[in-house]
């Protein structure tokens, strides 16, 4: 509805960024997502200042304390404690660092590798293209979680290895996207013009072609960000991600799983934290897509 009104406003040229922000901010969900995400980033950065306790200090007099609203709660621990007496709230706060860190580095890793391979394939075509795309097909033929699981089993369980595995599993999506965009743009006039004026291959690709497929790339990156967090948590849950006592949310869930009946809160809160984070990022992703994708804007 807001979009239909906008079609009349094309007479006044607005800067790209402002136009983008306009479309983004009319999406209420996206704004909420962005707000939550900003808070999360803030919490992650200032975790040591915000957290009431250190994440790995064991209060041996307070094992498995329920949250404070429970009659048996301990006023020191707002969300209760885990089996070795660590404050769950503090661990969740520090865990935000891991989740955002995972999301960020996986996306950057997948983006770099994916863009590089995609550009190579799309620009040079021929056997380079065939080789790269067949490798991507192979990666995509395995269910992503299964492949990540096997890769982590090979590299050894751990946060860093889990991140490598997830980045590897996610990058074909970037490669395919970039390849298609490069192929579409390669023969446009402006590229030919740049070529004639003597621009090198590398310059051509990086400066001329890439910015033109930035929109879909950003959307894909947001999607991958939330996917990475979910997959890392799933790996942690299966015991193959971050290793205890790291306060990574999925790992916290896995080590707490045996307490599902006795102390449901040790299972509930880490899962809720994952859900909220992923949901916030996906809301932003939706907003970005609506704002960046001109085709959807029209309807």
């Amino acid at each position: 509805m807001a979009a239909t009104n906008q079609t009349t406003g094309t007479t006044a040229p607005v800067s790209g960024l402002r136009e983008f922000w306009y479309y983004f901010s009319v999406n209420r969900g996206a704004v909420i997502g962005l707000t939550v995400f900003t808070i999360l980033v803030f919490v992650a950065i200032f975790a040591p200042l915000i957290a009431p306790h250190l994440p790995d200090v064991q209060y041996r007099d307070a094992l498995l304390k329920p949250p404070i609203w429970d009659a048996n709660g301990d006023p020191r621990f707002i969300l209760g404690t885990d089996p070795v007496g660590r404050d769950i709230l503090s661990r969740l706060i520090h865990g935000a660092r891991y989740s955002l860190f995972i999301g960020f580095f996986v996306v950057v890793g997948a983006l770099i590798v994916g863009v590089f391979l995609g550009v190579l394939a799309g620009y040079f075509r021929g056997w380079v293209d065939a080789l790269i795309m067949r490798i991507m097909d192979v990666i995509l033929a395995f269910p992503p979680l299964l492949l990540a699981l096997v890769l982590v089993a090979i590299l050894g369980p751990g946060l860093f290895n889990a991140m490598i595995a997830i980045a590897l599993v996610l990058q074909p999506h970037f490669a395919r996207l970039v390849r298609a965009a490069v192929m579409a743009e390669k023969n446009r006039e402006y590229v030919t013009a740049a070529k004639l004026s003597g621009a090198g291959h590398f310059r051509l690709m990086m400066i001329t072609i890439l910015p033109n497929c930035l929109g879909p790339l950003i959307v894909q990156a947001t999607l991958s960000f939330s996917n990475a967090i979910l997959e890392a948590a799933a790996l942690g849950f299966l015991g193959m991600g971050a290793q205890p006592p790291t306060p990574e949310w999925g790992t916290m869930l896995a080590t707490a799983r045996e307490f599902i009946l006795k102390a449901p809160w040790v299972v509930t809160f880490p899962g809720l934290a994952i859900l909220i984070t992923v949901l916030a990022i996906n809301l932003i992703g939706d907003g970005l897509r609506d704002a960046l994708d001109p085709k959807l804007k029209r309807s």
Partner: protein, 531 residues
């Protein structure tokens, strides 16, 4: 055509199900799928439960609830003066199971006994390698090839086993699951048809229950063997519902989906005990969780340092946080239920102040070491990582920095065996046959260095005591020798004896006559269900 056949079978099955409504049924939520049903080559407790304690039996057995050896397929036996000749008199009239795939024509005899051992022992036996890449793990592990000289048939119901040297634990070894007696006649039938692998999937034994069906990773069904020599079992159907996750098992028991389950998660015990329809049996486990110092590595080559580090550990806290009440402080290597346990040994004390002084006296300051944490949950140590975290915090208080290291389980053990391994190594042991030799010699003899002596500890006095105890059959004399061994062990502290875990067995109150085995096996012989 195939569908028609299936439908015919289906109608039969429905009729069977209708008839089975009155049958007495016991559902056991077991912890893992068995590899297969031949008790000789398998190694897991769950494998043994599914075959050795249902379908098969041995010459001698451990009495229910103890490690005492009692007659089973052998009615009686004699051991020669020199301790080298064992003569077994078989029980007459023992029947093998009758199945759609095999109908026995004769009762159990000496040929079956000889075949049961020779297939594991002799390389040239056609059954020695009947499955691809199989190993006779326990037969080898209990050193049977070293001790066996011959197995002879005296007559149809008499078998004579001759040893190369006296070996006190031998009778207990023969009560172990790997020594199960299988049918030679069935083996011959399969050999003739060429389908040797069926021996492990369609088992024939003499035991109280016979095999009915196995759905991979789901359910195993047995029925009571009507011609069992000790009388038909009180229950008609025995069902193993395979449920790998401990908390799911507990939930299934609470929901009434099964009658009895092994290995509850410590966290679930409270809820299980609180339920009015359930009882929880418990018992000391025949196991030990310990941490081996590398006694060849400085500064752990100094017994004073080892004792100081042990003293710096708050074992009570570990037992509470990790074993959660399902464990007991271990002051000796062997558990208290085992004969020859030396109760006079004082328990380890927790005294960080004194530990610090002792370390300083030994000239150890600013020590940084690796600390190896078991990567998987074991009966003797439910959570190695958590133990390591607690010890790390304790040691930090006496100025020792511990870096926790861990590897994949097989690699972990391989690396742990290396003589130049750095840092204390967490490990444990579950008793095989209830003999102290199975702990002392297996874990800390000089010859076990590089195999299962993770401390690389070779003490002459200790070695002399345990070797003498092995060749003596007089139990009083052996007890004395093992007491001495325990004193030496404590004075030298080659390892931190952490805890013996307690074993729990939650079940419905309607389950009658279940007796827990100290050896950790689960047998349903004689168990009844109240209606």
């Amino acid at each position: 055509m195939k569908l028609m056949k299936a439908l015919m079978a289906a109608t039969a099955m429905v009729a069977l199900a209708a008839g089975a409504a009155q049958a007495k049924q016991l559902v056991y939520c077991s912890e893992a799928s068995p590899a297969h049903f031949d008790p000789g080559p398998v190694t897991g407790g769950n494998d043994f439960d599914a075959s050795a304690h249902t379908i098969f039996e041995r010459l001698v057995e451990f009495a229910p609830g103890s490690t005492e050896v009692i007659p089973a397929l052998a009615e009686s036996w004699e051991i020669s003066e020199d301790g080298k000749e064992y003569t077994f008199h078989l029980r007459p009239g023992v029947k093998f199971h009758t199945q759609p795939y095999f109908t026995p024509t004769r009762d159990l005899n000496a040929d079956d006994v000889i075949f049961s051992f020779e297939r594991q022992w002799k390389d040239d036996n056609p059954w020695h390698n009947y499955l691809e890449g199989m190993t006779w793990d326990y037969f080898q592990g209990m050193d049977m090839p070293k001790y066996l000289s011959s197995i002879e048939k005296v007559d149809d119901l008499t078998v004579k086993i001759t040893l190369t040297e006296p070996n006190a634990p031998m009778l207990a070894n023969l009560a172990m699951q790997f020594a199960s007696i299988v049918s030679k006649e069935y083996a011959d039938q399969l050999e003739a048809s060429g389908d040797l692998a069926a021996f492990s999937t369609q088992p024939i034994g003499t035991g109280p229950f016979q095999f009915v069906d196995y759905q991979l990773d789901t359910v195993i069904r047995y029925s009571a063997f009507p011609d069992y020599w000790d009388g038909k079992q009180p229950i008609d159907d025995l069902i193993f519902a395979i449920t790998t996750d401990a908390s799911v098992r507990a939930q299934r028991l609470l929901a009434g989906e099964c009658d009895i389950m092994p290995y509850p998660a410590p966290a679930d015990l409270e809820a299980l005990k609180a339920d009015e329809n359930l009882t929880v049996q418990e018992q000391e486990g025949l196991n030990i969780g310990y941490i081996s110092y590398n006694t060849t590595e400085a500064p752990f080559d100094n017994p004073e340092v080892r004792k100081a580090l042990t003293m710096a550990i708050d074992k009570a806290a570990i037992i509470e946080a990790v074993y959660q009440g399902a464990g007991q402080d271990a002051k000796n290597l062997i558990p208290p239920t085992m004969w020859s346990y030396d109760d006079a040994i004082p328990a380890d004390v927790y005294d960080p102040e004194k530990a610090k002084e002792m370390l300083e006296a030994a000239g150890v300051t600013n020590l940084t070491t690796d600390l190896w944490a078991i990567p998987v949950s074991r009966p003797y140590n439910p959570n190695g990582q958590r133990v390591a975290e607690l010890i790390q915090a304790d040691w930090a208080k006496v100025g020792v920095t511990a870096n926790i290291v861990t590897y994949e389980w097989t690699e972990y053990r391989e690396r742990g065996k290396q003589a130049d391994r750095k840092g204390p190594f967490m490990i444990g042991w579950t008793g095989d046959n209830g003999d102290p030799d199975n702990f002392f010699a297996t874990l800390f003899s000089c010859s076990a260095i590089g195999v299962s002596n993770y401390s690389s500890w070779c003490n002459d006095d200790f070695e002399a005591a345990i070797s003498a105890a092995k060749t003596t059959s007089d139990q009083a004399e052996r007890t004395e020798l093992y007491t001495k061994a325990q004193e030496i062990f404590k004075a030298e502290e080659p390892a931190i004896t952490l805890a013996h875990s307690r074993v729990f067995m939650p079940m419905k109150k309607t389950v009658l006559n279940y007796v827990m085995s100290p050896l950790g096996s689960h047998s349903f012989k004689g168990v009844d269900v109240q209606e």
